[in-house]
């Protein structure tokens, strides 16, 4: 009976020790995923905007050149 109580007590202590570590780790991973996700989204927005503008610029130039020909 004493051994059982000691086991429960040690188990509770272990959980109490690991919980802050686990929750801290989970928070770090969540932050990392969120920041990398945000980074990817912003990068895509910027490269898409540049691609659209470059395509439109070239199209305008092609049209003007065609009019001159």
């Amino acid at each position: 009976m004493n051994a059982f109580i000691i086991l429960i007590t040690k188990g509770a202590e272990l959980v109490a020790t690991l919980t802050p570590v686990a929750s801290g780790l989970a928070a770090s991973i969540k932050a990392l995923l969120e920041s990398s996700g945000e980074y990817t989204v912003v990068m895509k927005q910027l490269t898409d905007a540049a691609t659209d503008a470059n395509a439109e610029t070239q199209q305008m130039i092609d049209e003007w050149m065609a009019e001159q020909a």
Binding site: A31, L32, S35, E38, Y39, V42, M43, Q45, L46, T47, A49, A50, T51, A53, N54, A55, E56, T57, Q58, M60, I61, W64, M65, Q68
Partner: protein, 151 residues
């Protein structure tokens, strides 16, 4: 003339607003920060270049810009659009930043104003061309600044 100045100011305000809208994400690595700056610079150059192209064509259609000068400016705008897009494609590739960075800087060199337009900023007899000359000068200055920000 007043209308053109207002339009130029409005275009500049839109570009600044667009630059601010792409807010820098937090907690980026140094390589991510450099790539974010590169993407922001390339998007801004693309927007400026589109504005210059539109203005050049409109001025030509209004009879304020000769076909020869229009061809020169549009040739430069096409060169900028092609080099900017090559840089954008490179930026989106999975190549490591260490090997990507020098190539991007080389592409930015291709975006610099050519010698044929060097005198375009000199006193211009036709005041309608002044905003266009300023825009081309501003884009060149921005490209130089972008190179510095990426190093």
């Amino acid at each position: 003339m007043k209308l053109m100045k207002k339009r130029a100011a409005l275009a500049l305000a839109c570009i600044l607003l667009a630059s601010c809208a792409a807010k820098q994400p937090v907690d980026m690595t140094p390589a991510q920060t450099a790539q974010f700056r590169a993407a922001q610079s390339l998007a801004t150059v693309a927007e400026l270049n589109r504005g210059i192209t539109t203005s050049t064509i409109k001025l030509n259609q209004a009879g304020s810009l000769s076909n020869a000068l229009t061809t020169d400016i549009l040739g430069y705008c096409r060169q900028v659009a092609i080099a900017d897009q090559l840089a954008v494609d490179l930026l989106a590739s999975p190549e490591p930043w260490l090997t990507k960075a020098p190539k991007l800087l080389a592409y930015l060199d291709l975006l610099r104003k050519p010698a044929s337009l060097a005198n375009f900023n000199q006193p211009i007899t036709n005041p309608a061309l002044s905003p266009l000359a300023q825009s081309i000068g501003a884009m060149d200055t921005y490209i130089v600044a972008a190179k510095g920000a990426m190093k």
